[in-house]
Symmetry: C2
Subunit: 241 residues, 2 copies
Amino acid sequence: MGSVDQRLPLYQRLRDEIAGRIASHAWRPGEAIPTEAELAASHGMAIGTVRKAIQVLVDEGMVERFQGRGTFVRRPSFDSSLLRFLRFQGTEGRHDVPDSKILSRESAVAPDAVADALKIPRDSAVIRLLRQRLLDGRPVMAEEIWLPLAPFSSLLALPMEEFGPLLYPTYERLCGLIVASAEETLTIEPVGEPYADILGLGAGTAVVLIERLAMNHEGRPLEWRRSRAAASTFRYRVEIR
Amino acid sequence: MGSVDQRLPLYQRLRDEIAGRIASHAWRPGEAIPTEAELAASHGMAIGTVRKAIQVLVDEGMVERFQGRGTFVRRPSFDSSLLRFLRFQGTEGRHDVPDSKILSRESAVAPDAVADALKIPRDSAVIRLLRQRLLDGRPVMAEEIWLPLAPFSSLLALPMEEFGPLLYPTYERLCGLIVASAEETLTIEPVGEPYADILGLGAGTAVVLIERLAMNHEGRPLEWRRSRAAASTFRYRVEIR
DNA sequence: CAGTGGTCTAGACCACTGC
DNA sequence: CAGTGGTCTAGACCACTGA
């Protein structure tokens, strides 16, 4: 972590140092980092150089700046998640969090595909959740969620009703684990069991499958999730320049 | 165009001026814009301010900078097109431009949906192209392409064989129209005729439908295109921070 | 009001390109 | 080699925030 490449520009080295402190939780989400003037003084560099370093972090989404208030460590928002592009019937304009119903929770031996995705040894112990998500009482999404057992073992003791509609705050509160970034992959496939049943779709109907690997600040995988929803709900828009 | 809001920061006003010259084709794609020093001298501002203005244009994708060479007006690359995420069977790693076969070309009265998309009066005259795209001789994509008739009328005289695999260079060469940006929307639907036939799929198979509105530098619509491909070829990946 | 980030200046020197 | 953009300095003043 502390390695500093002297060939890198000054502002890059400062960026790396700040990024390291955020990654190691020395500076936590929501907290302010030192002011430009303080960083310039403590590092013996000009304010313009400090500003450039911080601008890079802003572009990378690690911090936010507010004129008159300061610079703050950003809590990752999942606004850019592909789930954002699912448009459930009768939800024009709304972007509510769907209700959540945990259908099952069990510890298990990780299937090879899961172990590989989570980058843990094969046959490791994991937790598997099966979750149904509902909007106005109608099922809109089916999710299987895989977690390495050791860091998440306290979830096995949590009463099923106390899983809220959002899991990541629960991970942070119960297990002290912060999801900092994620990768998502979207494909389209005909739905099979048990998901057709959970979604209330006929077998073979096209669904979008969103696979998400969520990671902590160091890039270590925390959760692997596969979400399915009817393909007809998906609409994605992009601008090209 | 030439309006300048004195309340805007200096660098923003310079950005707007440069953007205007690019939009009006005074500075064309591939050409270098004046150097930082020249812009600073001609506008009576510091080089740092000029740099900031140009940085904004770089972030917006309008220009590219190369150390030691200069700053150049960017030709829009469609690298971010959703078509990039179609993975045709047996094409791992390759990203060739598929072959192109124009199946039909006709002038027509614009259907309302097309006129609205192109922002032209209803019942305007348009050109409609139907195109099949092939990889290794197998059909992989079916496209309908709508163009306003007046600016594109010279396309009606072009021998069918001379439509190359890429249309935008043809638009520029024959009609003097430059595609500067585009919006794409992706949805998933069961395929109907004639597209099932063109793609060699059974009726009702899931396809991705990519609707693209291509515009010139002023945002005026030039082309509306609907491309269909088997949903099984689609794979989209995104990072979340 | 003190303190924050935002804009802007007027330089210096460096790294890279192309002739 | 001259000319380009890239890095960096050491200031000044402005606009906004919160106590």
